[in-house]
């Protein structure tokens, strides 16, 4: 492979990250954390916290998802590009929700 094929820009290229092998220890820690959080969600569901019940449930789910994404899916060791990609996906999902809600939330405006 002749050397000029390598883009020298790659060294600090935000699209590029060194490959890294994640060790089983990390996975075990994550696994245990996930199980614990599952327990917490189930437990929290039986306590009456009014409006906070769904908030807590979704918050815990988000935490679990973030852990999975960062460690099981290695995003924490990935290039900026991948991180941005993941963020872009969730951002678009948020657009879908928030912008649609502008309709549903304000439909009854003026009626109270």
């Amino acid at each position: 492979m002749s050397s000029h094929h390598h883009d020298p820009a790659n060294v600090t290229n935000p699209e590029h990250a060194e490959h890294r092998i994640v060790q089983p220890g990390t996975y075990i820690a994550v696994y245990i954390a996930l199980l614990i959080f599952t327990g917490i969600t189930v437990g929290a569901a039986f306590v009456d916290l009014h409006i906070f019940n769904p908030i807590i449930a979704v918050a815990i789910a988000c935490i679990k998802a973030v852990i999975v994404i960062l460690f099981f899916m290695h995003v924490i060791f990935q290039s900026k590009l991948i991180k941005m990609t993941v963020a872009a996906g969730f951002f678009t999902f948020l657009i879908l929700i928030v912008m649609t809600l502008t309709d549903y939330m304000s439909r009854a405006w003026g009626l109270w």
């Binding site: 094929h5 590009l81 872009a88 879908l96 309709d103 304000s106 405006w109």
Partner: protein, 557 residues
């Protein structure tokens, strides 16, 4: 060498010139070698043939629509047949023709070459994308052959789920599958653009065609899945009567509209952005100038893509959405129109101080600019809330979107096909007749759709199979125009086919354009480049090109 003062065409000596023996077409023989190819250029050709086929089917439907509308009475076809005609026309034209048109054919062919790659990142997925397209197309044709579908291209619930007994499920599945073909094309483009650029090909050295396809790919990847799930829900609702959109069960039919347009508004930008890229290439080449405001044009593509996600509700202004939310979406609609204006003016100023010639692709580009400006500005009418109340669901809309889709994207597509035809086939198309066809379609187009703006303001509703007699004059004009337009579109089919065998040998760079694709042989080798090119010049650097040509002449000669 046939350079006269009014053209830049630069062909090799026709007596000695030959098509290179070794090229992507001659690399392997037999139908199977095409059906199992991984070569982006061959897949592009497969796509080109398939979408042309579907375009003419869709066009035939358009012809029948216009024939029926010649008279106010419902005389040519029955009303349900008419409904099937425009539904199939819309579905075929949008999903089977316009969405894949520029990206899957021209983009597939030249995009990897433009950035100095040997292929798209995932050749197999590229082929899979074509197969999905064909399977989806077959589903759609099946729906057609079995008796058609009459939902309109918008699949409006609860009409589509509970009230029609045509082949909605078949057509819906067809569109679902085609959606994945489009997703895979977009995915492949994004990865290719990020990962496969040749050394030195920085982001701001990329041709603007690459930028605009990049922007469109983002929309394909993020928007299409929402359409997919929406169609799944429609199919489920129709087959096993789940209650997500059905008002009788407590569902909200407007939810369908939200989800559908969440895709389908970005989809209209999928249907214009790649065409805008084509225009940038053409305008630059035929005025021999770097595109004015390169960065602004590049970023405006991305801006259109991003803002394109925020405006879908403008298709629902009178449908019972909250007035306040309509306000927000109308404002955002106005914002999304601005980047398009930026592009138009930058193209115009690219011409300034250029050295302009008027080959066929350039004529199509001019047509694009004019027609897209009309189409786009009438879009602003529709984005303006109060005006939309009167105009929505009338022929004004029909005229608006044909101006952007046919006058815009289709013209860009034809311009692009002519522009890259020498590269794809190694042969030139016949210049004078192709100019004639460009002019014919321009005139025919305006005759067809300009009267529809007036009809729309007069109040003629769209999707009407019969109409009050006072609208007839304008409808007759429109039908007459469609005939001219049809001729204008049939001509290229014939002479391009003819040119495959009899066209002049084009040589590597008939237009003396700067893109990497013009620096390799035509038609290209399977591998595109024998050695990975190293890019050390900006896009559209005609001085670099002149310098290079000079050097080559001296060293070779």
């Amino acid at each position: 060498m046939s350079t006269t003062s009014s053209t830049i065409v630069n062909l090799p000596d026709q007596r000695t010139a030959t098509i290179p023996k070794m090229n992507y077409i001659s690399a392997e023989d037999g139908l199977l070698s095409w059906l199992f190819t991984g070569d982006h250029k061959r897949i592009a050709m497969l796509y080109l043939i398939s979408i042309t086929f579907f375009f003419f089917i869709g066009g035939a439907f358009a012809g029948l629509i216009r024939l029926e509308l010649l008279t106010p009475q419902p005389d040519l076809v029955a009303s349900d047949t008419y409904n099937k005609l425009f539904s199939m026309h819309g579905i075929i034209m949008v999903f089977l023709f316009l969405v894949p048109s520029v990206p899957a054919t021209i983009g597939n062919f030249v995009l990897p070459i433009m950035i100095g790659a040997k292929d798209l990142a995932f050749p197999k997925i590229n082929l899979l994308s074509w197969y999905l397209y064909m399977i989806g197309g077959i589903f759609t044709l099946a729906a057609l052959v079995l008796g058609g579908v009459d939902t309109g291209w918008t699949f409006t619930t609860p009409l589509s789920t509970h009230y029609l007994n045509t082949h909605v499920v078949t057509a819906g599945l067809g569109v679902f599958i085609i959606g994945f073909s489009s997703i895979f094309t977009g995915l492949n483009f994004i990865v290719t653009i990020h990962r496969m650029r040749a050394p030195g090909m920085t982001w701001f050295r990329m041709p603007l065609f690459v930028w605009s396809n990049y922007a469109a790919s983002i929309l394909m990847v993020l928007g299409t899945p929402v359409l997919a799930i929406t169609l799944v829900l429609v199919v489920l609702e129709r087959t096993i009567h789940i209650g997500v959109f059905d008002p009788n069960l407590g569902g909200d039919p407007l939810l369908f509209q939200h989800l559908f347009w969440f895709y389908s508004h970005p989809a209209v930008y999928i249907m214009i952005l790649p065409g805008m890229g084509v225009i940038s290439e053409i305008i630059s080449t035929f005025s021999r100038k770097r595109v004015f405001g390169y960065t602004a044009v590049a970023f405006s593509s991305v801006a259109i893509a991003v803002f394109g996600f925020f405006v879908w509700e403008h298709h629902m202004f009178i449908m019972g959405v909250s007035n306040y939310s309509a306000l927000v979406f109308s404002l955002l609609t106005m914002l999304v129109a601005v980047p398009s204006a930026i592009k138009v003016f930058n193209w115009a100023f690219t011409l300034q101080k250029g050295s302009i010639t008027f080959e066929t692709p350039m004529l199509y580009a001019f047509a694009f600019i004019g027609l897209f400006t009309i189409g786009g500005l009438t879009g602003v009418f529709l984005g303006s809330l109060g005006m939309d109340i009167h105009l929505t669901e009338t022929y004004f809309i029909v005229a608006h979107f044909h101006y952007v889709m046919v006058g815009g994207m289709l013209m860009a597509f034809l311009g692009g096909v002519h522009f890259w035809w020498p590269k794809m086939t190694g042969r030139m198309y016949p210049e004078s007749i192709s100019k004639l066809s460009a002019v014919t379609s321009f005139i025919g187009f305006n005759l067809t759709f300009m009267p529809q703006f007036i009809l729309g303001y007069l109040g003629m509703p769209r999707r009407y199979h019969a109409y009050p007699a006072e609208y007839q004059v304008l409808n007759v004009l429109s039908t007459a125009g469609a005939t001219v337009l049809g001729i204008g579109f049939l001509m290229p089919l014939i002479y391009l086919a003819w040119s495959l065998k009899y066209g002049e040998i084009a040589g590597n760079n008939p237009w003396q354009a700067t893109g990497l694709e013009w620096q390799i042989q035509s038609p290209p080798l399977t591998e595109n480049f024998i050695e990975t090119p190293v890019v050390d010049y900006e896009a559209y650097d005609y001085e670099w090109l002149a310098h290079k040509t000079e050097q080559e002449v001296t060293t070779v000669g």
